[in-house]
Amino acid sequence: MTVTAREAIDHGAQATRPEAAVEAFLYREARLADEARYSEWEALWDDDGVYWVPMGPDDDPHVNLSYIYDNRRRIKSRIAQLNSGVRHSQTPPSVMRRTLANLEVLDRTSDDRGTTVTVGANFALYEYRYDMNIWAGRVVYAVRIRADGELRLVAKTVHLVNAGGPVPTLAFLV
């Protein structure tokens, strides 16, 4: 599922806060990304996950180029590369801390795999590598609450404030 930044804003009119378990899951995702705990981060994803960083708020990934548009297989490759120890652009990894704020449930759907909660949030990310870089934007998550009670990430879309570029290296988990 992909929700553009604008759609996310519109949906937010009647939004509620996510339930505690979903909120905790998202904070855990943020912490694992910050701490370069790559394999633990990868384990958060369901097998149909899509990690997307578009170049424009209204872009269609089937028509427009994105910075990142990883299906589950490519997420696996990205993590394998980061884990190799010779991904030079993340060797050593960026030191990072991010905050999520303004969490709102934008959508809630159910199917035979469980209930998927779409959550929109704003984020600020402080990345240090040689110099401090500050990244900010809108992040839209789809979290599946599976029938077995486990939570998994189905989609993470990151609308960077500076998506229009130019952007410095984005080799870390944004």
Binding site: N64, L65, P166
Partner: protein, 442 residues
């Protein structure tokens, strides 16, 4: 985006002290005077890639770019002609067009309302009764300044900010073959460069970004993480096992050429993740209808070029890369896939492949950017003065295609780049505008 001041004329007038046949001084990447000389001799006097005709398909379509540090508008005017116009109001110099792209019949300056057609003619001067007769007499000459030279090849638009000089065909020399090789993969013989440009800010010199693209030596090390953890290289890096060549095409252009190896294998799409024909039925059918089965098979085997066109265009197989130099240690690299008009199934794969390899998060280019930055850091140490580029110099062979080396890791392309670069900066390249009086040194 940072706007840089135009500095006074460069103090440096040649680079004789910086370039030898087998090495260059580290100062070629760091010296601000070298950068100023490049802005003049390469980016004002020479041919520079600006954009692609497919980016402005309809009258009124425009994109804004820079040639060196100078803002220009690439526009298809009402008469259907593609023009390159200075993005500067003729009244007080305001940057006229501030969007990256769009469609407009006129450009109206927000400062005092002067209005120009999309062909650059001045058609509106508010409150014109306030001007004297002698202004009205010269009004017709106050259009937007067109690039003094503009030409295109295969849809790729180039311009020069100086009126005199060699033709674009002379500048491109045998590099036209690389553009032809790319266009041979399109059933219509055209490309579509409208997927969007990744703009990657790299903290290194623009020449590092360009030359690295034809460095066949770095891949096993810079990109070890891809080969170790993701997938092996598409063909072996061991020269005795493969028919891969590096080539100095002359005129500063160079390439890594996989054509002979792919032809030896006679496998289609080795360059496209070895995608089988069955995955691309519409594209295969359109190609066979346009070119016939034999030429289609050959195009699918030989694949796209991996060719650097001096100074700022890299045909990165199915990607197009160009650079905008911001200063000696800062560059923006622009990348977009070379989409094939009407071939959606092919194009979506191409988007995913471009994202995988290229740009700030790409599995390859993110690491090239990092290495470029560390190179710039390292060059802050002034000794030893010289950078070594002699690899393969004794096994280079000259033939009708240029100077060729059978070892992909030979630094033949870089030697070609620097030879041409120094002749341009010294004002000794064919058609040079501002010749140097310095004597040629060995």
């Amino acid at each position: 985006m940072t706007e840089l001041d135009t500095r006074p004329a460069p103090a440096r007038t040649d680079v004789d002290d910086l370039v030898r046949p087998d090495r260059v001084s580290g100062a070629v990447y760091t010296d601000p005077e070298v950068f100023e000389l490049e802005m003049q001799r390469i980016f004002r006097e020479g041919w520079v890639y600006v954009g692609h005709e497919s980016e402005v398909p309809e009258p009124g379509d425009y994109v804004t770019r820079r040639i060196g540090r100078e803002p220009v508008i690439l526009v298809r005017s009402k008469d259907g002609e593609v023009r390159v116009l200075a993005n500067r109001c003729s009244h007080r110099g305001n940057r006229l067009c501030n969007a990256e792209k769009g469609n407009s019949s006129t450009f109206r300056c927000p400062y005092h309302g002067w209005t120009f057609t999309n062909a650059g003619d001045l058609v509106g001067v508010p409150m014109r009764q306030g001007y004297a007769e002698r202004f009205l007499a010269v009004r017709e000459e106050l259009g937007l300044a067109p690039a003094p030279r503009m030409d295109s090849y295969g849809g790729f638009v180039f311009a020069s900010l100086t009126a005199e000089g060699i033709s674009l065909r002379e500048h491109l020399g045998s590099a036209t073959g690389a553009i032809d090789r790319l266009l041979a993969l399109s059933p219509t013989g055209t490309l579509d460069l409208r997927a969007g440009w990744m703009k990657h800010r790299m903290r290194c010199n623009w020449k590092m970004v360009m030359e690295n693209n034809v460095d066949g030596y770095h891949a096993l090390f810079t990109h070890q993480s891809v080969y170790d953890a993701v997938r092996p290289a598409k063909v072996s890096h061991v020269p005795t096992k493969v028919e891969v060549y590096v080539r100095d095409l002359g005129d500063g252009h160079s390439e890594i050429d996989y054509a002979a190896e792919y032809t030896r294998l006679d496998d289609e799409f080795v360059w496209f993740g070895r995608a089988p024909r069955e995955k691309l039925p519409k594209y295969v059918a359109a190609m066979e209808e346009a070119h016939g089965p034999e030429a289609t098979h050959k195009a699918f085997v030989v694949g796209p070029p991996h060719t650097l066109i001096f100074p700022n265009l890299f045909l990165a197989e199915m990607n197009i890369m160009t650079v905008e130099p911001l200063g000696p240690g800062e560059t923006i690299a622009y990348t977009t896939p070379a989409l094939i008009p009407g071939q959606d199934e092919m194009n979506e794969r191409m988007l995913r492949r471009t994202e995988g390899a290229m740009g700030p998060a790409g599995f390859l280019i993110a690491d090239d950017g990092e290495i470029g930055m560390r190179n710039q850091f390292g060059l802050a140490a002034r000794e030893p003065e010289w950078i070594q580029l002699s690899r393969g110099i004794e096994t280079d062979i000259e033939d009708e295609t240029g100077i060729v080396n059978h070892d992909k890791s030979a630094e033949t392309p870089q030697r070609g780049w620097w030879k041409h670069w120094s002749s341009v900066l010294n004002g000794r390249a064919p058609g040079a505008v501002s010749g140097s009086t310095g004597e040629e040194r060995a």
